[in-house]
Symmetry: C2
Subunit: 209 residues, 2 copies
């Protein structure tokens, strides 16, 4: 069950004896990608470390060594996806910034593996790793959100008394509702409509049509 | 394992031989109440029909006869809670109607059993009974929502082009995000702020402060 490393790798052909057995960073990437696919297939309840290992073409022990529990595995897969949202869009307008913040979240939530991760994050109780990561990361874009609000305030676009996090979480919550309860894509005209509602909701002055 | 029904019930004292064993509608009420408590304790994954039966003080077979699966049980518990939201508030103003619609949802979502039902609804896949009930019931207040919008339109309060369902689902989605990801109460000033954002977001004219 341990990974067999050949004593020497013959030069020449790129196909090694342990071809298909990724190592190091490649193992991490392969496993987390497999977690997302398996989650989309079987959900959090049905997730099997054995199937994840098989799909990633790594040894089961390589998985357990890095992520001792199913929760840790899913939490790691989620961290990876959420890293993409740490950037703070600066488009020059509040509408542009809101849209730039919401669009990648909506795009992720439109994919089966994004939906599966969302379900996993929302289904687990406060004590689980997945819930903890989800909760912590919910706070992570706080800097990004407050800089969007600060720039909007400087332009006179931000209505006094609006909590920046509440504004953004309203966007995100609507996307979650759309995907998990309406079971429809949070994109296109629907997303335009949402950004419009939130923008008008938090704007100091009503934007011109 | 079957329910023993005494041949005759002695008159007089209210305490019968099968005291504590509710029947018929009482069984349903006791079981669904027990489901909500157990869900809040153990979550959907940890829900045990045996413990539900014990807590409701009914026979396990009485539970299985009515609800053959765990999913059916939770779906029934959810139906019961969602029945409270079929009324259409008519307070005379759009702000009042939005608040009257959102407040009981927020109140339910602030309770441990409401949180547990939400988690169950969001965690299960499209094929499960719970997800199906949740999805179907999401559409159920459609009439209520469109009559709120129609009255607001008649008063000149509703902005052209806003989809009534999108407006309400934005409210509900923000409440879900608040409870499950921020893990905070969706009530008080927070709820006022949310209603304010959505009201301004969907209003034809900016409401006076």
């Amino acid at each position: 069950m341990t990974l067999v490393i050949p004593a020497s790798t013959p030069p020449g052909p790129p196909r090694r004896r342990d071809a298909g057995r990724p190592r190091g960073a490649a193992v991490t990437a392969a496993v987390l990608a497999a977690v997302r696919v398996e989650l989309a297939d079987a959900g959090f309840e049905g997730l099997s470390v054995e199937r994840v290992a098989r799909r990633a073409e790594v040894n089961k022990t390589s998985v357990y060594r890095r992520w001792p529990t199913r929760e840790a595995l899913v939490a790691a897969a989620m961290e990876g996806l959420l890293d993409d949202f740490s950037v703070s869009p600066d488009t020059g307008s509040l509408r542009g910034d809101l849209y730039a913040l919401a669009a990648p979240i909506a795009e992720l939530a439109a994919q089966p593996d994004g939906v599966a991760l969302l379900r996993a994050a929302l289904s687990t109780t406060a004590s689980g790793d997945v819930g903890t990561v989800a909760s912590r990361r919910v706070g992570a874009p706080a800097e990004s959100v407050s800089s969007i609000a600060a720039r909007a305030r400087a332009r006179g676009e931000w209505r006094d008394g609006v909590d920046p996090q509440q504004a953004i979480f309203t966007l995100v919550g609507a996307i979650i509702h759309r995907v998990l309860l309406e079971r429809a894509a949070p994109t296109g005209e629907w997303l335009d409509g949402l950004v419009d509602i939130v923008l008008r909701g938090i704007s100091a002055t009503k934007p011109q049509p």
